[in-house]
């Protein structure tokens, strides 16, 4: 067979075989990964916002996995954002009854361990507490610029979504 045909054909066949193997591996582990993520989410909710009854709202909003309401009337937004890795930050952002940020919990973060540790420090996260409107102003972190930007973007997304859908969220 001519080399100009054989080379791309072999690459295509190998890529297809690897895709098949990955689909099989995904089918085997998808349920376990979903269970693990659900357990981590529940644990993070309890750790960050205390023991309460959490109920997911039925409405779906763009860019947000789910909105959860607790028994105190707080809304907790389950979002992913992009730091150094696309969609690598899984965050829970809580808004109180006034629509101000009352807590941020990092469920998982796929950036490097050092960058992950830097953006989880209270000194960084506390600047977002009490914020009610989306803004571009925030204190970034040297050495974890994109990780910090990811969290800032997520907070802005949550506040914008809340402002747009306030009625449906609070009375829905």
């Amino acid at each position: 067979m001519r080399e100009s045909i054989k080379a791309p054909l072999v690459l295509t066949v190998i890529s297809a075989a690897v895709c098949g193997m990955l689909a099989f591996a995904n089918a085997l582990t998808a349920d376990k990964i979903a269970q693990t993520e659900q357990a981590a989410l529940q644990e993070s909710l309890t750790q960050a916002f205390g023991e309460a009854e959490y109920t997911a709202l039925p409405q779906q909003y763009e860019g947000i996995h789910q909105v959860i309401r607790d028994t105190d009337g707080r809304l907790i937004f389950d979002v992913t954002s992009s730091g150094y890795e696309k969609d690598g930050q899984h965050l829970l952002i809580g808004l109180d009854a006034e629509g101000a940020v009352c807590g941020i919990c990092v469920v998982s973060i796929a950036d490097s361990p050092t960058q992950a540790a830097k953006v989880q420090e209270d000194a960084f996260l506390s600047q977002f507490l009490g914020r009610q409107k989306a803004t571009d102003a925030y204190d970034a972190i040297a050495g974890a610029t994109k990780s910090a930007q990811g969290i800032q973007n997520a907070v802005n997304l949550v506040l914008e979504t809340y402002q747009t859908n306030k009625e449906a969220m609070t009375h829905g």
């Binding site: 080399e3 054989k6 080379a7 791309p8 072999v10 690459l11 190998i14 890529s15 690897v18 193997m21 990955l22 591996a25 995904n26 085997l28 582990t29 376990k32 990964i33 693990t36 981590a40 150094y84 890795e85 690598g88 998982s108 973060i109 796929a110 950036d111 490097s112 361990p113 050092t114 992950a116």
Partner: protein, 226 residues
């Protein structure tokens, strides 16, 4: 006699990566994960095991396909195969060891571009049988794990005063060892120690002398000069 020679040679394939041709401490490959994930011995061990699994898998598959893969698309094929194994390891860690998956973060995906894996595929697996390639992958992976574990244990023990998370001497910890400069310092000391054990002298002349890959390289196409 031939069987004994073969078995001895197979054992050599497995053992060469531990000290004599250790990819990290002698070949100085895979420095990025070596420095980045060795703040804790547990993470170092996890990264070592994950890389070993990928090394064995990719070496076996590349060796199986060595007569099929055309020269022109050799590297893209290797990368696709390696990336496939890395993603499978990611799935497994995410589902069954989520703490380690979180701790290794983006460095887990970066195993794909670890030069030890591509290096063994290019230098060894594409020229040798499946069994030899599997043993080479296992040996190199164990050598990498050993190096990471050594560096990680020293950094965690003297930098944080703990070992595998168990408090040992927290009062006397030197926290700079858990930071990047401490990583370079500990890695340098471990390399010096291994050189001492292996009685390696620095090369006195430039060229293949003293190069750990000289034998493999010369056997393939007459040396790195070609």
């Amino acid at each position: 006699m031939a069987d004994a020679e073969t078995s001895c040679s197979l054992r050599q394939e497995l053992c060469k990566g531990l000290i004599r041709e250790n990819p990290t401490l002698v070949g100085l490959l895979g420095m990025c994960p070596t420095l980045a994930v060795t703040q804790e011995a547990k993470n170092a061990l996890g990264m070592g095991i994950a890389t070993t699994l990928v090394l064995i898998g990719s070496n076996v598959v590349i060796s199986l396909l060595r007569r099929v893969i055309p020269q022109a698309v050799k590297l893209p094929c290797y990368i696709v195969i390696i990336a496939g194994f890395v993603t499978m390891v990611e799935f497994l860690l995410h589902g069954f060891v989520p703490e380690l998956y979180t701790a290794l973060g983006t460095f887990l995906s970066l195993i794909t571009v670890n030069c030890i894996i591509l290096g063994r595929a290019e230098l060894f697996a594409c020229k040798h049988t499946v069994i030899r390639s599997a043993l080479d992958g296992a040996g190199m992976g164990l050598g990498f794990t050993l190096a990471l574990l050594l560096v990680g244990s020293v950094r965690e023990l003297f930098g944080a005063g703990t070992l595998f998370g168990i408090s040992v001497m927290e009062q006397n910890a030197v926290s700079v060892l858990t930071l990047a400069p401490g990583g370079f310092f500990v890695l340098g000391c471990v390399i010096a120690l291994v050189n001492r054990i292996a009685h390696r002298e620095p090369p006195r002349t430039a060229g293949c002398t003293g190069c750990p890959n000289a034998a493999t390289c010369a056997a393939s196409k007459g040396g790195c000069s070609q």
